[in-house]
């Protein structure tokens, strides 16, 4: 089949369109259930980054980099790291108290600070991995930088 658009064939594109949302959702699930099940911020963040990379492989780099470019990736990753540090400092000083509900660990606001750590880590890892992928696969010339 003739295909002038960037990216792979129609079959791959259709399959990607159907699955990419599920993959992203699964990433969120892993992050938010990190404190009671296997996984956590790191694994969930990797899965979320993979869904973006999956999209990029199927539809060409423009489809994703238009939304999240390299700079935005670095920014998101730094935000995740700063968020993590802020959570650590504020909770260890006692500035913010995160409630721990006995028997209520399955809800986000009942398991202390750990779910919030997971969220911060997932932002950092997801954005970081995605940016590393961009840096490795996309050639950036000095003109693009400006």
């Amino acid at each position: 089949m003739k295909n002038n658009a960037p990216g792979m064939t129609l079959i791959v594109k259709v399959i990607t369109r159907l699955t990419v949302g599920l993959i992203l959702l699964y990433g969120f699930y892993i992050v938010l259930h990190g404190h009671i099940g296997p996984g956590g911020g790191f694994a969930g963040g990797v899965i979320m980054a993979l869904s973006l990379i999956h999209l990029m492989l199927a539809y060409g780099k423009e489809a994703v980099t238009k939304k999240i470019g390299r700079r935005r990736g670095i920014m998101l990753s730094s935000i995740g790291a700063v968020l993590f540090l802020a959570l650590f400092v504020s909770s260890s000083v006692g500035f913010i108290k995160f409630p721990v509900v006995p028997g209520g660990q399955h809800i986000i606001l009942g398991a202390g600070v750990i779910p919030f750590y997971d969220i911060a880590i997932s932002i950092m890892v997801g954005a970081g991995l995605y940016t590393v992928f961009l840096a490795l696969v996309i050639l950036i010339t000095e003109r693009d930088e400006q």
């Binding site: 700079r71 730094s78 790291a81 540090l85 260890s92």
Partner: protein, 484 residues
């Protein structure tokens, strides 16, 4: 609040804030890094009285018991290294203010540098062997990128080689940690040493682990059979980075970890100490003779680092309290004067545009401050009295004679003379003679570059005062921590 955790929180927070906002807000990086550098140095000085009176300070993350969580511990040895690292970091950040102006993305450099400092502080503080590995990788990876920062062909090649050899070292260390964990079922250093001491039947595993650690940390410290990466990496990095790499990184990642693992965790044996003596002597001799042949100033200094780290390892290999004192004192002194010399090299390269000894000449009249501070550094590293380097080398040589190694002591004294030879070559080549017309219009470096050089030059003389009875406790507590 928790001063020990701050040693890691401050540089990490600075690094990520700069990565986030450095491009938008001009001068944010300059302000933040200098505040962080000064703050860390003050923090490092503020823990000295506590460590001297209490021996050990502990911080438990999240109040987990020491065995379960990853805790931070500061004893005499860690305190010495923390002060050295944060002193050099603080001065190098001031120096970078104007030196790094020539690069377009200074904020990237500052963020990476702070990450490296976080890694170094983490290596020093961590009380469990795997946390040590994680921070060691953090510092190494930031180091690989910083070496390539100028993105010239030679810098990229040096960085690539450094990455390969550094990764090989990390693999050796990680394998060693895994085997040690399988042997003792714990990662906490104090626990591991207790369990190893209580096992009567030890088998060959510990020997194998020792070899892995010796090779891994030996590569990080650039001891002689593993030194090939160092001259390229340290000479092609920007000068403030070279000053940090030579001044503190090889000592923290290599020498400190070696001391920690062998003297405090696995325990030393006479075979191991002999190995250290031989590696030390080999580095000392080979580094010194290779340095004589260099015409590039920074390459000469880099080879000289190999030679001086050889002194430290040699002293540790002798293993008597006096020798360990000499080794640790030399570690401190070397951090001071080698950073000073690399900063001098940066100032020379900045104004003259070259660091080739055959092209430079007669800069003393144009650069009075650089030349006098460089003289301080050169004399101190060659062991000329009354500079600090003389006292540390003297202690090492006396300790070698006391321990019954007069020949080794003689070799150490002779290598010191060779050191003087190549530093005189540097002095004569760069600062003496008639000024060529090409350099008629050059000016001394700006104030922010002069200030760190002057401070380090003063310290390279004043360092000898640490042996006075009133200040001796600073070094003695480190020696006690090594030999306890």
């Amino acid at each position: 609040m928790k001063p020990l955790a701050l040693f890691i929180i401050i540089p990490l927070a600075t690094a990520f804030l700069i990565a986030l906002l450095g491009r938008r807000i001009k001068n944010l990086g300059d302000v933040l890094t200098n505040m962080a550098g000064a703050g860390l140095f003050i923090l490092a000085c503020s823990i000295i009285p506590g460590v001297i009176s209490h021996k050990v300070l502990t911080y438990k993350t999240g109040n987990w018991p020491v065995i379960l969580g990853s805790s931070f511990i500061v004893d005499g040895l860690s305190m010495l290294l923390l002060v050295v690292i944060n002193l050099v970091c603080c001065l190098v950040m001031v120096y970078s203010l104007s030196y790094m102006e020539k690069y377009t993305d200074k904020w990237n450099y500052q963020a990476l540098f702070m990450l490296m400092i976080a890694g170094l502080n983490g290596v020093i503080l961590s009380a469990d062997i795997f946390t040590l590995y994680v921070f060691l990788e953090l510092a190494s990876i930031a180091g690989y990128v910083l070496v390539a920062f100028s993105t010239e062909a030679e810098a990229l090649e040096a960085s690539f080689r450094y990455t390969i050899i550094g990764s090989l070292a990390s693999v050796c260390i990680l394998l060693g940690i895994a085997l040690l964990y399988s042997f003792t079922s714990t990662l906490n250093m104090a626990d591991i040493s207790l369990i190893i001491a209580s096992r009567s039947q030890q088998g060959q595993l510990l020997n194998f682990v020792s070899v892995l650690f010796l090779a891994g940390f030996g590569m990080k410290a650039a001891l002689v059979p593993f030194h090939a990466w160092l001259p390229d990496a340290h000479s092609s990095a920007p000068s403030p980075v070279s000053a940090t790499l030579s001044g503190v990184v090889i000592k923290t990642l290599g020498v400190y970890s070696l001391i920690r693992i062998f003297f405090n965790v696995i325990g030393t044996s006479s075979n191991l100490l002999n190995c250290l003596v031989i590696l030390g002597l080999a580095s000392m001799i080979a580094g010194a003779f290779l340095a004589i042949a260099q015409n590039d100033i920074k390459r000469m200094f880099a080879y000289s680092s190999i030679s001086q780290v050889g002194y430290i390892i040699f002293a540790l290999g002798i293993g008597t309290p006096l020798a360990v004192l000499g080794g640790l004192f030399h570690l401190l002194n070397h951090a001071v004067f080698k950073s000073l010399l690399f900063l001098n090299a940066g100032a020379i390269e900045r104004v003259a545009g070259t660091r080739d000894l055959t092209k430079l000449k007669g800069l003393a009249e144009k650069l009075p401050l650089t030349s006098s501070t460089a003289l301080f550094g050169s004399m101190s590293i060659s062991g000329v009295p009354p500079f600090a380097g003389f006292w540390s080398k003297l202690i090492i040589i006396i300790a070698a004679i006391e321990a019954g190694h007069p020949i080794f002591a003689l070799i150490a004294a002779l290598v010191s003379i060779v050191t003087l030879v190549y530093y005189l070559k540097f002095q004569a080549g760069v600062f003496f003679g008639a000024l060529p017309s090409a350099f008629a219009n050059i000016k001394e470096a700006p104030l922010t570059m002069k200030m760190p050089m002057v401070v380090l030059a003063v310290l390279s003389v004043a360092g000898g005062l640490l042996l006075l009875p009133c200040c001796r406790e600073f070094l003695q507590s480190a020696v006690k921590a090594v030999l306890s």
